[in-house]
Amino acid sequence: MKLLTARHHRRICAQRILTALLLACIAAWPLAALAHADHAHDGGFLAGLVHPVLGVDHLVAMVAVGLWGAILGAPALWLLPVTFPLVMAVGGALGVLGVPLIHVEPAIAVSAMALGLLVAFMVRLPTAISMVLVGLFAIFHGHAHGTELPEAANAFSYALGFVIATGLLHLAGIYLGTLLRWPSGAWIVRGCGVAVALVGVAFLVI
């Protein structure tokens, strides 16, 4: 019975990891279509969908937000993924309008490192502080996206794709975070946190 339960847990862990990967892949899927992109329409839905997944540091940080939300539980579970796109849109608007921010790229690397460590050590901060921290990071992520926005951007389709991709990455993190209910799953989550932190360190050093 015990063996069966352990096997059952392993199977569920594998299923959840695969589903989280699938969500991340759906967000990244338009990358494959870039080879045949009509660049006259670079500013559309696909461009918006692709943008958050183009940079690995962006990608892992957004998944880590979902993971950290899962660790903190309700209400942070949904408040963090609400805060991040909202503040990121404000940062994006600053970038689009040409408002300068200093040390944007290092701040993004630091955000990945910090979020990774928070997940790896399962740090539980008060919800308000978590929201402020995530919001602070989101400004830099949004600013970087805003300044890199294609000139021909179709506002509606681009913004729609951008927000949907961000949401899918958070969702991937939250879904991966459901592994926390099993001891072995918690170690997988911690491992993901370490990987995210390492990506952050790599971007900071390189």
């Binding site: 309008l97 805003g146 951007a153 949401g167």
Partner: protein, 199 residues
């Protein structure tokens, strides 16, 4: 399964009508169709109608009646004053700014009075953007009639979708879904407004 079949059938039937437009037997009906589809061609209006509809839907049927009355009355007032602002502003930053003002009410599931004010503001702004380009009075009236017929139905459609979600979810999840949806709409409007200002 039935719940999927009916909307799919409806969508197919609506799509099927397209080839028939070329041979419309009723003079002026094309203008009515143009008006009917107009709200779907202005992204800011889609977002604003979504905010109003979802807010009312997530709050429940009880609130829908006074809010719907406020919405339709202000829609008519807005349409009457449709030439008071430049056309670019009405189709561009005005509905987006209205979304920035009203979406927090959806995120925080505002009370009844605020929801009615949001419905009135939404109706007013969408109405402003619904007056067709100047032309023969008959053509303008037919196109406007199409828009004014479609807009309340679109808003009520969003409200019905939200009500359906609310009815199926545990009460604690309703606020979460409303908050996430509102935040996404607000984020989209913020980015769009920045892009609008850059252009």
């Amino acid at each position: 399964m039935k719940s999927i079949v009916a909307p799919t059938l409806l969508a197919v039937l609506i799509g099927w009508a397209n080839p028939v437009w070329a041979h419309s037997p009723v003079p002026g009906i094309e203008g009515f169709y143009v008006g009917l589809w107009h709200p779907l061609t202005v992204p800011g209006q889609i977002l604003l109608l979504s905010v109003v509809g979802l807010l009312l839907g997530f709050r429940g049927v009880k609130l829908a009646r006074p809010a719907f009355i406020a919405f339709t009355v202000s829609l008519a007032i807005g349409a009457a004053f449709g030439r008071s602002l430049p056309a670019e502003a009405i189709a561009g930053w005005v509905p987006l700014a209205a979304v920035l003002l009203t979406a927090p009410a959806l995120i925080f599931r505002a009370g009844e009075v605020v929801a009615i004010v949001v419905a009135a503001l939404g109706g007013l702004v969408v109405g402003l953007g619904s007056l067709p380009e100047p032309g023969p009075i008959g053509a303008v009236a037919i196109t406007l009639a199409g828009s004014l017929a479609a807009i309340p139905f679109m808003m009520l459609g969003m409200a019905a979708a939200a009500e359906a979600v609310r009815a199926r979810l545990p009460p604690s999840w309703t606020g979460t879904v409303a908050g996430v949806t509102g935040a996404w709409i607000l984020a989209i409007a913020t980015l769009m407004l920045a892009l609008e200002m850059r252009i």
